[in-house]
């Protein structure tokens, strides 16, 4: 078995989820703050 084959292992899905949460949570915060301003545009 080669070194490469020996190292083949899947990335744990939790790592992918955590990575997206790392950037997704601040982004969602910014988006929410933005959406709060929109009603004023239509007189809300």
């Amino acid at each position: 078995m080669s070194a490469r084959e020996g190292q083949e292992r899947r990335v744990p899905p939790v790592l992918i989820v955590l990575a997206w949460l790392w950037v997704g949570v601040p982004f969602a915060y910014g988006l929410w703050q933005l959406l709060l301003k929109l009603p004023a545009l239509f007189g809300g």
Binding site: Q7, Y29, G30, L31, Q33, L34
Partner: protein, 495 residues
């Protein structure tokens, strides 16, 4: 180079971050976003302007200097360091970007603390600006290599992050400034310094995920189920590589430069004066008390369109082609300006839809550019070529506001939409010129393609600066290059 060799390579080298088999390419967009969401803070600089002006007793022009210098440095550093970013790899680039960007905040904190405003200009503008430029281009070529089947979508995600950075930074920094007494009357400068300090430290942590997680694909990697030979091809899509030094000698580069510059100028034309434009168009129909909030809502709506346009239209370009999508940005953009010009303030909803679409095309122009460059010049040094193209942004950043502000000032006596008639006509003309430039783009002459012997010529193939072939230029086992430069190989691909 094997993965085992990579473990002996330096921490920042490209060899060290070659992905092992089984690595998921879906870890790469969040790594890129960790950098782009941070450096996108630049567009939230306006939050600091009033506290700095009142706290340090400086003029409005002076308080704009750090941002303006930062944008100029963004374009310059992307152009100057682009080749090095491609050579050293994304981890090096992301770390250098993080250090410069964070150092910019820390120097600014020191500057406000000691009441030495020149340190803020130097720190945020010059040092931080270098971080902006290197950070902006750092993940682009890596994303294109990981997503050869969807390059527009991949770069769209990252560059959407740059648009989204201000969404996060704006309310966050405003709330900190308020909490630390920097928005009082008079504002406490130490509160501004503390805000800079905390932001610098927070961004250092946030961006670390980017340079820790980023990986480049192995030479023989390709997406599962993706057949390079069957990928969508078009007249403009090359399978060869052109160096950055040669790319700027081609008419295609400069035509695309004009396209980007004028598309950005047209977008800035409305973005720069979003609130005043809204006020002049619809001021009469709103009570004065609620008008400021309505104008802020308009600016927020444009930010939203700018951000999502980057992802939506850039992803669409994977389906309909880069030249066609730019036709839409430029042609439909000109029509939309014309609609605003003709209907003025007669229909608010129509005005909002037009403005949103114009801003979505503005953002999309940035996001689709790297994939267009990939089509024209191949993946070899696409990051460096992208860096040089961003000088169009620097020029547009000066040109757009200059046109709109100068014309609006010259029409001070006029009220309502008439103040912007000339500006919008100029924007239409610029978009038409950009449309013509896009139509003139043809496939790059094969004489600029890199060859095995280090010269340019008609043969396909790519070399590194040192003479060794790179993964982008790797050949198939039979010696024929595949589309996108990827090798057909035995390595199991992952999604």
């Amino acid at each position: 180079m094997t993965v085992t060799d990579g473990h002996r390579a330096g921490f920042l080298t490209r060899e060290r971050i070659i992905a092992r088999p089984g690595w998921s390419r879906w870890l790469v967009p969040p790594a890129a976003l960790a950098v782009h969401l941070a450096i996108g803070q630049a567009y939230a600089w306006s939050v600091f302007k009033t506290p700095l002006e009142k706290g340090l007793n400086i003029s409005g022009v002076a308080s704009s200097l750090p941002f303006q210098l930062g944008i100029v440095m963004l374009g310059l550093s992307a152009a100057v360091f682009g080749t090095r970013v491609d050579r050293n790899g994304p981890r090096w680039a992301m770390l250098v970007s993080s250090i410069c960007f964070v150092a910019g905040f820390l120097i600014s904190a020191l500057g406000v603390w000691t009441r030495q405003y020149w340190l803020v200009v130097l720190g945020y503008g010059a040092v931080g600006g270098i971080g902006l430029g290197i950070g902006y281009i750092s993940p682009v070529s890596t994303l294109i290599k990981w997503f050869p089947d969807r390059p527009g979508m991949a770069t769209g995600i990252a560059i959407m992050g740059f648009g989204g950075g201000a969404l996060i930074a704006s309310p966050w920094s405003a709330s900190m400034l308020a909490a630390f007494g920097a928005t009082g009357n008079p504002p406490d400068p130490d509160g501004i310094a503390l805000t800079f300090l905390i932001m610098g430290l927070a961004y250092a942590v946030f961006m670390s995920m980017g340079w820790l997680l980023i990986r480049v694909p192995a030479d023989d990697w390709r997406p599962a189920g993706w057949n390079p030979a069957a990928q969508k091809t078009g007249k403009l899509i090359t399978t060869s590589g052109v160096s950055a030094a040669n790319a700027i000698k081609t008419p295609q580069f400069w035509l695309l430069w004009i396209v980007l510059c004028f598309n950005v100028t047209a977008g800035i034309g409305i973005l720069e004066k979003a609130a005043p434009i809204f006020m002049d168009f619809f001021g009469g129909s709103n009570p004065a008390a609620s008008f400021a909030a309505a104008a802020a809502g308009f600016a927020a709506l444009l930010s939203l369109a700018n951000m999502f346009g980057r992802f939506v239209w850039s992803t669409t370009s994977d389906l309909i082609g880069r030249k066609n999508i730019y036709r839409m940005y430029l042609y439909v953009g000109a029509i939309l300006y014309l609609v605003i010009e003709l209907t003025t303030n007669s229909n608010k909803v129509l005005f909002l839809i037009c403005a949103m679409l114009i801003l979505s095309f503005y953002g999309a122009g940035f996001a689709t550019a790297p994939a267009y460059l990939r089509d024209l010049f191949g993946t070899y040094q696409v990051g460096a070529i992208h860096g040089r193209l961003l000088t169009a942004w620097s020029v547009a950043g000066v040109l757009g506001p200059m046109i709109v502000n100068a014309i609006a000032d010259a029409h001070q006596g006029e009220a309502g939409p008439a103040r912007y008639t000339t500006s919008f006509i100029i924007m239409i003309v610029l978009l038409v010129i950009g449309f013509v430039a896009n139509e003139l783009i043809r496939p790059v002459d094969p004489k600029w393609h890199e060859t095995d012997d280090g010269t340019t010529g008609s043969r396909s193939g790519v070399r590194t600066g040192e003479g060794a072939r790179t993964d982008e230029g790797a050949r198939t086992g039979e010696g024929a290059r595949t589309d996108d430069g990827a090798r057909t190989g035995e390595q199991e691909a992952t999604r």
